[in-house]
């Protein structure tokens, strides 16, 4: 038995974290220092060492808190894996030559139960051609360029997916003026511009928005004639599903339309939306209506309570939701209820969004109606 090098496996001290690594049919358990996970290369070496496969090229994956199998192939996603692992980090290792790339991605662990068995018995599976970069479905969308086929090439319509990420939207807008062609010739007209991108924010990380881009529309509504405050309010009101049409300050990176397949080129990372049609705007507005905001309603069981004793708080109810939603959790509850409340909220909202038709909980007792 390979006992881990550092620390005891069972230790649940704050600083250490349990790792359960699987290669083929073999499991290895060891612990890592959560605060100092080190570099990916070291970790890769460590895995090769504990599985005694020093010269085998492997692909490393882990299951995140949503139960998705996600790859670990650089320092960033390695650190992400370590920091989000709760309470233990599950690692899956595949030989590179018989790796199944489709196993990675959103909902993979829950969607296709057989994927795991494929991973576990790689020899059952056909060999696939090597693809060096990861597949689109490995990632959760954070933004997309849409409606390329119906917009002028100088404009860009960007959709930001705020849900499912804790990143701030991270941008600021300002007043400014732009030059327009009008019946009276060129005229200077007031406009709204992006004035700042917060480093690490969603807007910056997409690379689709830049400082000095002029904002033309917010969720299909033109901003011309509206004040900065109005546009701010419109954006915040739509912030959970924000679609802004901009005229990029830098016009050299515009999507060049190919004659035929504009529809597909218009969807760079879009996966969940219906394929673009000329009527896409109506479509996404509708889609937004459906998915955007489902208010949470908590119905109380109606047991008469002695007043003024406090009735069950939303905190507790949400905790219950949390547990229902995360069957993979082993019942461990973090000590801070406050944080739990936040994450629980986020999770439940996201859950609804991703499963708009999910009704199983609706009649399921008194807890929640979607």
């Amino acid at each position: 038995m390979n006992r881990p090098h550092r620390g005891a496996a069972g230790s649940r001290g704050l600083g250490t974290m349990e790792v359960k690594s699987k290669f083929g049919a073999e499991f290895r358990r060891f612990s890592l220092e959560r605060s100092k996970p080190g570099k990916f290369e070291e970790f890769y070496g460590l895995l090769q060492h504990v599985h005694k496969i020093p010269n085998v090229d492997v692909l490393v994956g882990y299951t995140d808190i949503h139960g998705d199998l996600l790859p670990i192939n650089n320092d960033d996603n390695y650190h992400k894996a370590v920091s989000t692992a709760n309470p233990l980090l599950r690692i899956f290792i595949q030989r590179k030559e018989d790796a199944d790339y489709s196993a990675f991605g959103t909902d993979t662990m829950t969607r296709k139960k057989n994927v795991l068995t494929n991973v576990l018995r790689p020899d059952n599976h056909k060999k696939k051609p090597h693809i060096v970069i990861s597949m689109p479905q490995d990632f959760r969308p954070v933004s997309s360029i849409i409606d390329v086929d119906i917009l002028p090439e100088t404009h860009r319509r960007v959709r930001l997916y705020k849900y499912g990420t804790d990143k701030p939207l991270g941008f600021y807008i300002r007043d400014g003026s732009s030059v327009r062609v009008t019946p009276h010739g060129l005229e200077k007209v007031p406009g709204i511009f992006i004035s700042r991108l917060v480093p690490g924010g969603l807007a910056q990380s997409t690379g689709l928005l830049a400082v000095n881009d002029e904002v033309l529309e917010v969720n299909g509504i033109e901003v011309s004639g509206k004040s900065l405050d109005q546009v701010t309010d419109m954006m915040i009101a739509n912030s959970r599903n924000l679609i802004i049409t901009v005229r990029p300050a830098n016009q050299r990176n515009n999507v060049v339309r190919n004659s035929r397949n504009s529809g597909s080129s218009g969807q760079s990372t879009e996966s969940s939306l219906p394929s673009s049609t000329p009527n896409i705007l109506a479509n996404f507005l509708q889609g937004e209506e459906e998915s955007d905001e489902e208010d949470i309603i908590i119905e109380d069981s109606g047991e008469p309570q002695q007043i003024p004793k406090a009735a069950p708080t939303s905190l507790e109810s949400l905790t219950q939701i949390d547990l229902l939603h995360e069957p993979t959790q082993n019942g461990f509850l973090p000590s801070s209820e406050v944080n739990l409340n936040h994450s629980a909220c986020n999770i439940s909202m996201e859950y609804e969004v991703q499963n708009p038709d999910h009704k199983s909980l609706e009649e399921d007792g008194t807890i929640i109606t979607l």
Partner: protein, 1017 residues
């Protein structure tokens, strides 16, 4: 197909209250109307209650003087840009309107070059019979202007040189005489003018012979007044004295007055800015003057002195302040000026015999009854000083039952027995507006803890009753009335008049929310220090102890320390209450943060209240708390800060007050510089002002706005924004029952099912509340309002409305739904199972946020039966949107309030029948109407009698014989025949364009209806 219409304006129907920043006053004794001009260039005419006309100068400039051409319906105004304007009262469709017809500017004197001040008009005197006006100027010259054509009569101009020729050296006050300070017409002989120059020389000038008849030399001159017979004049001076002179024949010179008095001497006094002298059949003449107070001890008081024989009253218009005036330490005792005099005049019977004295001060109008011993004030039926203490909230009740109305009126009458019973003297014109079909009550809550009840049924907003809440608490300032009591022995004999007193004793007393049940006369008033007072109307006075309860809204949440103000300490023991609303229970929230929402259900005897920390439910019958719920977010530290900014703002307001004193000392002089900042009355005027007063556009780094969704732990997310009671289906679809709803700043809604015992068992069983539902709006915007709609989609009626047969019973068969309005969207949910039915995302579509909403019923103009329930919504841009209910389809939208006018938007209240009020200045409510049926606007008629037919000004037409006119102007004409020299043909010179002539021809045909008089020469 449901596109909102293009934004229009809802008819702004009338302005209620006191015009902001008045600057001029005039009275027409024949029409019996007065005119008030404002710093914003507005002109407002007031006659009998309901008779109101309004005009606005095109220029945003202060109206410095107003003069009626008596009886003729013409009004001359002088602005501080030195332009003269002629206003005309004209008739259209049977109603009178006010319109500016022409304007005039004195040409710069040739050769005087770079001294525009020379022709600055200082004095205007329209001479009888109103065909000529004299203009005195800064340069000392007197010009004559033909009326109403405003044509300069150049040959009559009287330059100073001409006067100086007949003035001996010892009467010349240095090189020049100074500006013309005063011109008064001889009361018996209009051909003679008394002209007073600033440096002290007064001349009696005969116009026909162009000679100086009499010279007087006194001190630096402020004002002049004739005695009725024309034998004496009085002059007032900058040293605080006045002199009486005898007027003799021609060619006299006088350096010695008959009497010279400094009434408040012997120590140095301030100037007497205006003096009036009126004889009286019944005794000694009245001498009335403003100012003249001893400089050192009372230099900061604003007083008018009334002297009749040995009787002297010093009417003190200075407002009382937070700690009472402390005369021993002037300057530190805060005698802040509420008042600046702009004008005072008599209302007369005949030529003399003064009936009343009208004083317009900066913040109110005071009328003194001079015929009743003791000279009491006459209560005004309009121009109410709404802002006598700052308005902190307002509340409107429609269709007030007659019984309650009468009880409130009677409570109000018992409050002010000392006022004069004389009829309101300014009563000209006829009110043509329909009698209001229902009684409307507007309640205003004030910073000093008072609630004022106003009759808002018609055009003029009449005060009915004033309720004070300060006496329930221990406050520091109970020795406040020392000012009045010390009066007997004091010299001068001050008498406090007026009620403007904006400086609150204790900001915690401020009223935040009001709710009144018009069927049971139960009222709830809640304030800044978390106090909730349950009151009931009692027709008799009473002495009782108010029971006190506290409700802890933090509910054992740990880690919070309230850093704001203390709660108000209730007074111990029984307190005496005058007839009116008397408190029975005081509930105090802990922590004592300002109450942000209340609601009352008089049938269930429940009151719900909320603060920034949570909400509570109180049974005022059993006097015990039913429920307390904390809504505070664990990370919210700001909610515990308390209104610190308020303390700062109090300091700031004090500082500003001092600045104002200083400023008023400078600008209190009669003439304001052209460049002085001016402001506006009326919504339109305010807008102009905002543009004008704004700093010049400076290149600045552009403002940025952060785009981030609201998060759960935004500060102040726990503020309770609305509370609502409804009898509806909360738990299941078969049993309805009492429910309570609460909405917060973070988009949470809490619904409680209430167990309310039946009426008979109220005393035995306690009310219980059980949490039924919690709704978290995903967009987290503050919940502004909650309402339940019955099976037909109509809002549920108020308590007792059905049992008193005043509303149809709600449909309890069909399924109910719930309308939630957040700052961003409206949503209708089904009940009892909460799921969204319809919604309208206002902010996402329009970029505006909801500020106020109300369910209003709009009746069709055709039949009263056809009533539609709509949702009216005022946004942060000042627009009003109307939506159908429950379909939430946008119907119309209007732009109503300027979006910069934040306090205007915050002050808006809707009435149930589609009207609304908002403050356009601290002292004025603008009333608007969304309903075509329900409009309150002034419709009135003033019968004018013109010396010249108006039409001859506009269009030359053959003169038809007109009915003979007879009115007091005849007598003036008779007594001033000598003045009839002005060439009559001038008015026939029409300098107008052909287009205008055409328009006038059209007008002229309408003019046939006018009862205009004509002077046939």
């Amino acid at each position: 197909c449901h596109h909102p219409q293009l934004p229009g304006h809802p008819p702004s129907t009338v302005e209620h209250g006191f015009p902001s920043q008045p600057s001029a006053l005039a009275y027409d004794p024949w029409l019996r109307v007065m005119a008030i001009g404002t710093k914003a260039g507005a002109v407002k005419l007031y006659g009998a209650p309901g008779v109101e006309l309004t005009g606005l100068h095109k220029e945003t400039a202060t109206v410095t003087q107003l003069h009626f051409l008596t009886g003729q319906g013409w009004l001359l105004s002088l602005l501080d840009d030195n332009s003269l304007h002629l206003w005309e009262i004209y008739q259209k469709e049977g109603c009178s309107h006010l319109e500016e017809t022409r304007s005039f500017g004195l040409p710069a004197r040739p050769g005087s070059g770079a001294a525009p001040l020379i022709t600055r008009v200082t004095v205007i005197l329209p001479m009888a019979p109103g065909t000529v006006a004299c203009l005195g100027t800064e340069g000392g010259a007197v010009y004559f202007l033909a009326l109403p054509s405003l044509v300069l009569l150049e040959d009559k101009t009287l330059l100073q040189d001409e006067i100086l020729q007949s003035v001996p050296d010892d009467y010349r006050c240095g090189k020049a005489l100074g500006p013309v300070e005063c011109i008064q017409e001889h009361p018996q002989d209009a051909g003679r003018l008394l002209i007073g120059y600033s440096r002290g020389l007064v001349v009696l000038w005969d116009q026909s012979t162009r000679t100086v008849q009499h010279l007087f030399l006194g001190n630096q001159l402020e004002s002049l007044a004739w005695e009725h017979s024309g034998k004496n004049i009085a002059s007032s001076h900058s040293d605080g004295g006045y002199m009486v002179w005898a007027v003799g024949g021609s060619g006299q010179r006088t350096q010695q007055p008959i009497t010279a008095t400094v009434p408040y001497g012997p120590f140095p006094c301030k100037a007497i800015s205006k003096i009036l002298w009126r004889t009286c059949e019944s005794g000694n003449p009245f001498i009335i003057f403003s100012g003249g107070m001893p400089r050192a001890s009372y230099g900061d008081r604003h007083c008018v002195s009334v002297l009749q024989g040995q009787r002297l009253a010093t009417l003190d218009f200075t407002s009382r302040t937070s700690c009472g005036t402390n005369p021993a330490v002037p300057g530190l005792g805060f005698p802040l000026p509420s008042s600046l005099f702009y004008f005072l005049f008599f209302i007369q019977q005949g030529f003399e015999n003064p009936r009343a004295l009208v004083v317009l001060v900066e913040e109110e109008l005071v009328v003194i009854d001079l015929q009743t011993p003791g000279w009491p004030t006459i209560p005004a039926p309009y121009l109410a000083p709404l802002h006598s203490s700052a308005i902190t909230c307002s509340y409107h009740i429609s269709n007030v039952p007659l019984k309650l109305w009468e009880r409130i009126v009677s409570a109000g009458e018992q409050q002010s027995p000392r006022l004069s019973s004389a009829a309101w003297p300014i009563n000209g014109g006829k009110n043509l507006a329909q009698e209001p079909t229902q009684r409307g009550l507007l309640l205003t809550g004030h910073e000093d803890g008072t609630v004022r009840f106003w009759d808002a049924s018609g055009v003029s907003l009449k005060p009915l009753y004033k309720l004070g809440t300060a006496n329930i608490f221990q406050t520091d300032c109970e020795h406040n009335d020392s000012l009045n009591q010390a009066g007997e022995e004091e010299w001068p004999p001050f008498r406090k008049v007026g009620c403007f007193d904006p400086y609150s004793d204790d900001p915690r007393l401020g009223i935040q929310k009001i709710a009144l049940c018009k069927y049971t006369a139960k009222m709830v008033v809640a304030g800044t220090a978390g106090q909730v007072l349950v009151m009931e109307l009692n027709d008799d006075k009473s002495e009782h102890t108010v029971s006190v309860a506290t409700v802890d809204l933090l509910q054992d949440r740990e880690g919070f320390t309230w850093k704001g103000h203390d709660r108000l300490a209730p007074r111990n023991g029984p307190i005496t209450f005058t007839p009116g609303f008397q408190p029975s229970v005081l509930v105090q929230c802990v922590p004592p943060a300002a109450v942000t929402a209340i609601t009352l259900h008089s049938e269930w005897n429940l009151v719900a209240f909320g603060t920034s920390h949570g909400f509570g439910l109180f049974d005022y019958h059993r006097r015990n708390p039913v429920l307390a719920r904390c809504t505070l977010h664990p990370n919210d530290s700001l909610a515990m800060e308390g209104p610190l900014s308020r303390v700062k703002s109090l300091k700031k307001s004090l500082r500003q007050s001092f600045r104002r004193i200083r400023k008023s000392r400078v600008s209190g002089k009669k003439r304001l510089n052209a460049g002085s900042p001016s402001s506006k009355v009326g919504a339109e005027a305010n807008a102009q002002l905002a543009e004008q007063a704004g700093p010049p556009e400076v290149e600045m780094t552009p403002v940025q706005r952060r785009i981030e969704p609201r998060s759960a732990d935004d500060s102040l997310s726990g503020v309770v924004r609305c509370l609502y009671f409804a009898d509806t289906f909360l738990r299941d679809a078969t049993h309805h029952g009492p429910t309570m709803w609460a909405g917060t700043n973070s988009g949470s809604v809490f619904a409680y099912a209430l167990e309310v015992p039946s009426q008979e068992k109220f005393s035995e069983r306690a009310v219980e509340a059980v949490l039924g539902k919690e709704i978290q709006l995903m967009h987290r915007a503050p919940v502004v309002a909650i309402a339940v709609l019955d099976g037909r989609g109509n809002p549920l009626p108020e308590p007792y409305e059905v049992s008193r047969d005043l509303a149809k019973a709600p449909d309890m068969q069909g399924s109910h739904s719930m309308l939630i309005s957040s700052e961003e969207q409206f949503k209708v949910f089904t009940l009892p199972k909460v799921s969204a039915k319809t919604k309208f995302k206002l902010t996402a579509h329009e970029g505006c946020r909801v500020r106020k909403v109300a369910l209003v019923s709009l009746a069709s103009t055709g039949t009263e039966e056809r009533v539609e329930n709509c949702l009216a919504c005022l946004t942060n841009l000042g627009d009003i949107h109307i939506f159908t209910v429950p379909a939430l389809r946008p119907q119309v939208h209007y732009s109503c309030i300027r979006k910069e006018d934040i306090s205007g938007i915050a002050s808006c209240v809707f009435t149930k029948h589609g009207q609304g009020f908002y403050l356009i200045s601290p002292s004025e409510f603008e009333r608007f109407s969304l309903s075509a049926r329900n409009v309150t606007e002034p419709l009135c008629c003033l019968e004018v009698s013109r010396l010249q037919d108006t039409s001859c000004l506009r269009w030359v037409r053959p003169r038809a014989p007109h009915p003979p006119w007879k009115h007091p102007v005849v007598s003036i004409l008779a007594s001033s025949k000598g003045a009839q020299e002005s060439p009559g043909c001038i008015w026939f010179i029409s300098p107008r364009s052909s287009e205008e002539v055409e328009r006038n021809m059209r007008n002229a045909s309408e003019d046939e209806m006018r009862p205009a008089g004509i002077l046939i020469k």
